[in-house]
């Protein structure tokens, strides 16, 4: 059910970015560890000269998902009978091909974007947890690019679309087994 939350978050994220200036307000919340050299021992072979890390040296935490930015989307996005309300495309194992059942959903978003040229979306690709994590980053990107290509072919400008892959790093559903994995092999269409 976590993915439902993700929708909400995406929708919320969506509310602002339409009017957002193009200056990227990046979320600089990566914190560096800072260390001191702790080689104070009388160790004869010098093997003790390690470093100690710890005191976090803070970047200010910026806004994250769902904290206020987002697009001003119409009611069609919350109407369960409208394909625009579906913003996650699911994939088969080790495949980046958009399945037939999702083609109308991608088309609906493409149509919307083509008629709203100022609207931006982030297509974030994801993979299930199986296999190695960097390969899964590549797989997630291929999925997002499949959706991107389909949208481009339907008249969406490249400048409206951004692709990012999180691989297996951000599962929508935690746990192992096909029921979780099938929900995690996905592309999320995130209106900005």
């Amino acid at each position: 059910m976590k993915f439902k939350k993700a929708y909400l978050v995406l929708a919320m994220t969506a509310v602002l970015a339409t009017g957002c200036s193009s200056t990227d307000e990046q979320d600089e919340s990566l914190t560096e560890g800072q260390g001191t050299d702790a080689s104070t021992s009388g160790y004869s072979d010098g093997s003790m000269s390690g470093s100690q890390f710890g005191s976090g040296n803070g970047y200010n935490s910026g806004a994250g998902y769902g904290s206020g930015s987002g697009a001003n989307l119409g009611p069609e996005f919350s109407d369960p009978n409208n394909p625009l309300s579906k913003q996650v495309i699911y994939f088969e194992l080790d495949s980046s091909q958009v399945k037939q059942e999702y083609v109308p959903i991608v088309a609906a978003h493409a149509q919307y974007l083509a008629s709203h040229p100022n609207q931006h979306v982030i297509l974030s690709g994801h993979a299930d947890e199986r296999g190695s994590s960097e390969y899964n980053i590549a797989l997630g990107e291929q999925r997002a690019k499949s959706v991107e290509r389909m949208m481009r072919s339907q008249g969406v400008s490249g400048s409206q679309l951004e692709v990012v892959s999180y691989g297996e790093e951000k599962p929508a559903v935690s746990g192992s087994g096909e029921s979780a994995w099938s929900m995690n092999r996905r592309v999320e269409v995130g209106y900005q």
């Binding site: 990227d24 990046q26 979320d27 600089e28 919340s29 990566l30 914190t31 560096e32 560890g33 800072q34 260390g35 001191t36 050299d37 104070t40 021992s41 009388g42 160790y43 004869s44 093997s47 003790m48 390690g50 470093s51 100690q52 890390f53 710890g54 976090g56 040296n57 935490s61 994250g64 998902y65 769902g66 080790d94 982030i122 947890e129 199986r130 296999g131 190695s132 994590s133 960097e134 390969y135 980053i137 590549a138 797989l139 990107e141 291929q142 692709v163 990012v164 892959s165 999180y166 691989g167 790093e169 951000k170 935690s174 746990g175 192992s176």
Partner: protein, 427 residues
């Protein structure tokens, strides 16, 4: 915490040989070797306060965890001598021991004088006598150093107990997650956070001198590769191209990073010169090419590619050229990592839906599957080549696991809170 935790593994011989704990960390040896050499580490005599570090426990845990030794439980010892002349070899023979280690620690106001002796129980021969002095909070390190000395004396191979590992933890925080890149002692103790972010951190890779770590951070909601100096905490962004910036691996001389970029289309392997930031593209085409790793002599880069349909490992000259396929066993072989001597290549081997750690002997090209999980990934060799650290899945949570390169011994480092992934053993 449950000292009683027992995990029965499908091996021939299975028992929890030791469970250590610190900061929510447990180490469980889930598979022990039948041929392990019995050794008794007698509690060291003490003078003055030495805090809560018990050297004999740390050394027993190190040596027992190596798979080469089986450490005698303290409760089974008949006597606990701390001076050479008090050692009665018959006692230790009666207990079936091959070797006995005794020692003393003298607390000396901020520093410690440690001495220890290693004996062959069968002939009473003194194999090693050693004195060392260490500073205030370095007793654990001193214990690991003693383990290294004993290990090398008895096996002829360098020990890897006094080494460090890096890994990424993730745990729920608020409505999201918090990812932390940490460095700890090889037994998981003394974890220190190097970087943290609410967005994923991935792929830590050590510089050959152990002074820096390269990693991928998504904290700007895009992937970006950083190189961070451990002693100062100073961090530099080295790659932030559009698309994937991933899978950094230092060249053996530390001057370059092999990385994955998708700026030109599909993911490809590039070599980034760290001094002038110039890029050399090594692979091309529509396939996924990623997870580069350097051979220790720097001549070759091994990477994962799906150019044959499924992911397999390929080798390419690091200066560019034609790629040749290395793996043919199983339907999925990815993320290669060389041993320091270049003779072995560890990888994730997928077969029939099970993903396990395998090692290829580079001379014969034979592949041995070592681990026993279903979702094992991210193998990394100990600097002495005796063990492989990797990420495993335990009840839906990721934990770190260590397997000896002969597959005889396996242990788990289990951080109780959240998941631990992407381990990398320091050189």
């Amino acid at each position: 915490m449950s000292l009683l935790t027992r995990i029965i593994c499908c091996g021939l011989f299975a028992a929890v040989l030791s469970v250590a704990q610190a900061e929510g960390l447990t180490i469980e040896i889930t598979k022990g070797s039948q041929t392990a050499v019995p050794i008794a580490i007698v509690p060291f005599g003490q003078q003055g306060s030495i805090g809560n570090v018990k050297l004999s426990d740390v050394i027993s845990s190190d040596l027992g965890g190596s798979g080469f030794f089986k450490a005698l439980a303290e409760d089974d010892m008949l006597t606990k001598p701390s001076e050479p002349e008090k050692v009665n070899f018959r006692d230790w023979q009666a207990l079936g021991q091959d070797y006995v280690v005794i020692g003393q620690v003298l607390g000396n106001g901020g520093s410690f004088n440690i001495q220890f002796h290693l004996f062959n129980v069968h002939n009473g021969q003194l194999l090693m006598g050693y004195k060392l002095t260490v500073g205030g909070n370095e007793l654990r390190r001193a214990a690991h150093h003693i383990s290294d000395l004993i290990y090398e004396k008895l096996t002829g191979r360098k020990g890897a107990f006094n080494t460090r590992i890096a890994y990424v933890t993730s745990a729920a925080r608020g409505n999201g997650r918090q990812y932390m890149l940490q460095v700890a002692d090889a037994d998981g103790y003394n974890p220190r956070t190097i970087a943290e972010s609410p967005e994923p951190i991935m792929a830590p890779a050590w510089s050959p001198d152990g002074s820096k770590i390269a990693y991928v951070s998504f904290h700007t909601k895009r992937s970006e590769i950083f190189v961070q100096t451990l002693a100062t905490g100073q961090r530099q962004s080295v790659s932030s191209y559009p698309g994937i910036n991933g899978a950094p691996a230092f060249s053996p001389d530390g001057s370059r990073l092999a990385i994955t970029l998708s700026k030109d289309g599909s993911p490809d392997v590039y070599v980034l010169n760290l001094a002038n930031r110039s890029l050399t593209r090594l692979t091309s085409g529509l396939s996924i090419d990623t997870e580069p790793t350097w051979s220790p002599d720097g001549s070759t880069i091994v990477f994962t590619s799906d150019q044959g349909g499924k992911p397999q490992l390929y080798a390419i000259p690091s200066s560019g050229g034609r790629a040749t396929r290395l793996t043919f066993q199983g339907d999925y072989n990815a993320r290669g990592r060389f041993s320091a001597d270049g003779r072995s290549l560890a990888m994730v081997n997928g077969n029939g839906g099970r993903y396990r750690i395998a090692v290829m002997d580079m001379a014969s090209r034979t592949v041995n599957v070592l681990s026993e999980g279903n979702l094992d990934e991210s193998p990394s060799f100990a600097p002495n080549g005796s063990m492989i650290l990797f990420a495993a899945n335990k009840g839906g949570r990721s934990v770190l696991s260590v397997v000896s390169t002969d597959g005889a011994m396996q242990q788990k480092l289990d951080f109780q809170s959240g998941g631990v992934r992407e381990p990398a053993w320091a050189p």
